[in-house]
Symmetry: C2
Subunit: 303 residues, 2 copies
């Protein structure tokens, strides 16, 4: 049976843009619920300044509390300092972000894209020595809110430079939810074919309802790894106009109905989605959830 | 430039499942707004029993009032009697429905699928004489709420029989919104390739958020005609669990962003969507609309 692999980024991407700040205890509950539902990998936090992103404060504490499942956790880092903090908290999987547009990179991590690249190269050397798996995430890979459409060549070139650094897992992120399925195919096909020994993850936001269409287009191009956020939580504090990630529930429902295994229990995942909604005081964004409510109302079981 | 052709079925499929009944005057306003926005074809009504579907009462009156644009209007008919009523009201484009499952056909039009086929064959002869364009719609083409998954062979066989009747425009309808993009490709590819001189329309409901993904999959399979409903209105009174059609706004946004022309003014279409929401006292279901509201809030123009 064909398989795809989900990383739930709800506890990071989902929570960082919420008005309500969650306690470390609540975040632990969410991460634990996701792992219990069978989500293979959970982005549990970010090693960023608590002043800039208060929602991510205490990510080290959270990692330490989850030491026994750390192989299934991932942490986002903006720079070399973030890497050290993540490693010291016992992280085994880290994601370093770099933006395809220089303006966005400046807004995001206050340095030029080239400087981020130099740092990622150094982090990669250190990660090899530390036996930490490093993924690089190319943000605003389709469109930047400041610079407009991102040229395919810019992403290909950045991917090639990351490859030269030794990176073999690259995340292609539609940070603001501006990609369309044709653009996804146009970018992901040459990436997957060109870098055949690289694992590509796609990260979509559902801003314009195209999250699932984009995921299908990426899958058709050969992508097997997807980021998603339980309950469709999400956004980016520095990218105006971005709304929630594509909901994990929706992705799981689509792939499972296509006969593609995710290894995730959809019913259990939806319970975590409700918990996320309760904690953040935000309605859950996924459509799978609404459909489930409709079925339950009518006394039907899920098919 | 590549093109797709939308038929807005909001004034028929959209309204027939609403709690609020609209006046013929309100329905006229919706149809007129859609035509003004550049929608090439509008399904303006249905020639069905006003007792069974009160929302469609007065469809003949509506057609007569729109006599000067009747080439851009379409009417749904359940049987031969419906055809006569449609023709007498001046309809130039009619759609006859037939269900891929016998149980659904019984629930929908109180006869067996085979009897519907016989009627459609007779209607087609009459339509040729009347110079009326007849489209046949195969409902529950992917899944029936009563019989479960529809075998591909059942739809292929029904399409072949319709072809034998002389039908050259077939609508493949996911009446309850249970299709997934892989299933869409698996069905539409052999249909498009097998019946190369038939125009296929795909009709998707967004029940499980896969409307756009399914439309993209159909487009990839060679489909250029799509049904959609302004504001995502919709449902089917006889198919439990069905919710709204995929929103016309969302389809237009996706295709236009893919560089595929629809000929429709998205801004104007959204205004009609709001009107539909006001008339039906239902929140508009399309995501494009929510995205637009977000942009307007932030003082941005649409891109």
């Amino acid at each position: 049976m064909d398989q795809v692999f989900l990383c739930d980024v709800g506890p990071r991407d989902g929570l960082q843009n919420q008005a309500t700040l969650l306690s470390v205890q609540q975040r632990l509950q969410l991460v634990d619920g996701l792992l219990q539902a069978g989500v293979p990998l959970v982005e549990a936090g970010a090693m960023v300044s608590p002043k800039a992103v208060p929602a991510m404060a205490g990510s080290d504490e959270l990692l330490l509390a989850l030491a026994d499942v750390k192989s299934r956790l991932q942490v986002l880092i903006p720079n070399a300092r973030g890497y050290q903090l993540a490693r010291d908290a016992g992280a085994e999987n880290v994601v370093a972000v770099i933006c395809a547009s220089n303006t966005m990179n400046q807004k995001n991590v206050r340095m030029d894209t080239l400087d981020s690249l130099t740092q990622i190269s150094q982090i990669q050397q250190q990660a090899l020595a530390d036996k930490v798996r490093l993924q690089a995430c190319i943000a605003v890979a389709w469109e930047c809110p400041f610079e407009g459409r991102t040229p395919i060549a810019a992403v290909m070139s950045l991917a090639a430079q990351l490859y030269e650094c030794g990176i073999r897992h690259i995340n292609i992120a539609d940070t603001i939810g501006a990609a369309n399925p044709k653009a996804v195919k146009d970018l992901m096909q040459p990436l997957v074919r060109g870098f055949y020994d690289v694992t590509f993850t796609c990260h979509f936001h559902d801003t314009r309802a195209m999250g699932l269409a984009n995921a299908f287009a990426a899958y058709e191009a050969g992508v097997k790894h997807f980021d998603a956020s339980v309950g469709g939580l999400g956004g980016c504090p520095f990218a105006p106009g971005a709304t929630g990630n594509v909901a994990s529930e929706d992705l799981v429902m689509m792939f499972e109905q296509m006969g593609v295994s995710t290894g995730i229990d959809l019913e259990q995942l939806m319970v975590v989605g409700q918990l996320a909604g309760d904690f953040t005081e935000q309605p859950t964004g996924g459509r799978a959830h609404k459909w489930r409510m409709l079925q339950l109302e009518k006394g039907r079981t899920l098919c």
